[in-house]
Symmetry: C2
Subunit: 399 residues, 2 copies
């Protein structure tokens, strides 16, 4: 007979520190005795060859799939997902192929129900979903790990948006030693995509780990990074908002309130943080919808940003919006060209569904001889690309 | 035929902003067409009488229970849990009794598997578990809601602990307008219990919402609140640590490193924040294990804290520890009495498993005529008590 090693140890330790858990301990012993489904469950287990083994004890289940992003389609949402194998004791097991260094996401689908790996304490939120994750190191994903280097701080704050006439939540990274330092810092405004919010770069993007690591490696200048909530229909991420979980209203055009009132964000940051308050020390970048926000804001706020980054941008989909901020964008871009800037950087995956859309827009930029750096990578519209782009983009800033 | 209203709306909105989701949309239409399990699922639904209805679509499941804390035993871990009812389309439904104002936690157990409510985006983490929650307002739980009042900031930072010889993560609440204010603030050090970490008061404790609300109501003085990680075997909460998910080692006595090196925390805060750096403006409080830490630290750091709060404290369980910080505690308490303090506040639930343990310790304090305020409440060793205690304790500070 096997033992549920991890659970039993957990419970033994808890007993020592908290008698409250006696009850659970006895229930679990009773359960083990009655059903003899006693197994050593370790999940995820990173094997020496960098394959991964996942396990789930689910004796009653008929089929367990793994929704993961190391499958053929590299998408959590693909229908083409690995199926786990059940042994006689009801333990489901799966071993992956050898995986390159990356941060990987998954959950189990047990007879149609989404289940987070109960053995894996590492989870992140994507919109309303909780996703289990692990990091395969010894490569590029080492930048996503918490390393023993000086750490910056992450602050969740609220700014008063005149444009929205509301307080809105905002996440701010300050570099190591910011609190006691006498110097002023440049600022990167970093925007999320559709379905994300002010927590996304911090959670799914591993932005704070990337900044800590790149700054320690002296690849990136110490800077303040500001992560906004770009959804016009929210004031904050779901768990932090006073309103219910909000979704866009189908029947209204995009009001452009976020882009229009971006000046409120800049004012708040310049008032409350030790910033170098000028164009040369201000950058803006965003992914997908945030790439469009970046495109739009950098054009609508002339002479404000010397560094612009569009990560897999979704440039066209606000065309029908009625807001002034969307009007005459071509003219505004032309003015932006005349005003000048240090870097306009665009990155896109070859398999991204927005590839053709960007191509159209690049042709438009080329026609007016608008200079930009263009990087084409493998992959599609996913966080592993956006983390990569952040690692590539930030070292070019303020130099 | 019904419609999956919430999901379909979600998908329609996503389509508008992101073609990527077309795939899911078609898969879900295909699924609906094939299986005709098309239902309007809204969960949780707070009914007009303050009962709650939960729903889960799980056609293949044989039994769905709700692990919840509004059951008879008021514990997520009780075996005495409500069972949901399945209809012919595989939709499981449950309606609770009328619930008093509180923050409630739950998850589904589907044929033995823990499943978070897929319709509810509001979840929090307790150790490695993700828990769905909702708040019934119009009563005391209004203090746990994000209100439209001025908000403080929450900063996740790292301090260098000389005692641990490590950087350790720390959560700091600063009150509204702290950033631009010229005044200095008193400090409350607020400690978590066993199984918790530097995120617990912030997540499960709704501490930031409580502070924002009480400060807006002028019941609580604006103050800095510092939430540490009190686990000697961790540097940070699981998702933020460089080490793997660590548990205490059975074979070692408690080293007392956290309590011994608490001075490192105070030094860090006084160096980096605008603090009133003296006994009159310093408070310390903690729940369960953190109650013992508070008891121990306030006695070992003489003339440091004028306000001390023990919430359901677990006073005795470090007796066998070999660290100096645990030695001669009775003498240190006697010295603390002689040095004086403004408030020593103890709260305990009548059904708490630590009730008798505290009674023993209160008798010891009474014998030496050590003055304390004692509050006995209903309930046991749970977060609804600790949130209540925080709401009662903070208004008494620095007045």
């Amino acid at each position: 007979m096997f033992k549920i090693k991890s659970s039993t140890n957990l419970l033994k330790n808890k007993m020592k520190i908290n008698n409250y858990f006696f009850l659970i301990y006895f229930i679990s012993i009773l359960y083990c005795t009655l059903f003899a489904q006693v197994k050593q469950v370790i999940s995820p287990k990173i094997n020496p060859d960098n394959s991964i083994t996942l396990q789930l004890l689910a004796p009653n289940a008929k089929e367990v799939k793994i929704n993961c992003d190391w499958n053929v389609d590299k998408s959590l949402w693909s229908s083409n997902q690995p199926i786990m194998t059940k042994d006689k004791d009801g333990l489901w097991t799966y071993t992956s192929p050898v995986l390159p260094s990356e941060m990987y996401n998954y959950w189990f689908t047990v007879d149609g129900q989404l289940v987070n790996d109960p053995q894996n304490p590492f989870t992140i939120r994507d919109e309303a979903y909780k996703i289990s994750y692990f990091i395969i190191g010894n490569g590029k994903a080492d930048n996503y790990k918490v390393s023993d280097v000086p750490h910056g701080s992450v602050t969740h704050s609220w700014y008063k948006s005149i444009g929205f006439d509301k307080q809105r939540r905002i996440t701010i990274y300050t570099p190591p030693n910011y609190e006691t330092s006498k110097i002023k810092y440049p600022v990167l405004y970093l925007l999320h995509g559709s379905g994300g919010d002010e927590d996304s770069w911090f959670n799914l993007g591993r932005a704070t780990q990337i900044f800590d690591n790149l700054i320690a490696q002296k690849k990136m200048k110490p800077m303040i990074v500001v992560m906004t909530n770009g959804n016009y229909y929210q004031t904050a991420s779901p768990s932090q908002a006073s309103e219910d979980f909000m979704l866009p209203n189908d029947d209204l055009p995009y009001p452009g309130t976020f882009e229009t009132s971006f000046g409120d964000v800049i004012k708040f940051i310049d008032k409350n943080y030790k910033t170098l308050n000028n164009k040369q020390n201000r950058a803006i970048a965003g992914l997908s919808m945030g790439g469009f926000h970046t495109y739009c804001i950098s054009a609508n706020y002339p002479n404000t940003f010397d560094y612009v980054g569009l990560f897999s941008p979704a440039i066209s989909y606000r065309k029908k919006g009625s807001a002034k901020v969307y009007e005459n964008l071509d003219e505004k871009i032309l003015a932006q060209k005349k005003n000048g800037y240090k870097l306009y950087w665009i990155a896109m995956g070859k398999k991204d569904f927005l590839y053709d859309n960007l191509l159209e827009n690049r042709i438009k930029l080329d026609k007016i001889n608008f200079k930009y750096q263009y990087i084409e990578t493998a992959g599609s519209h996913t966080w592993n690309n956006w983390r990569d782009y952040l690692v590539q983009f930030t070292p070019m800033l303020f130099k």
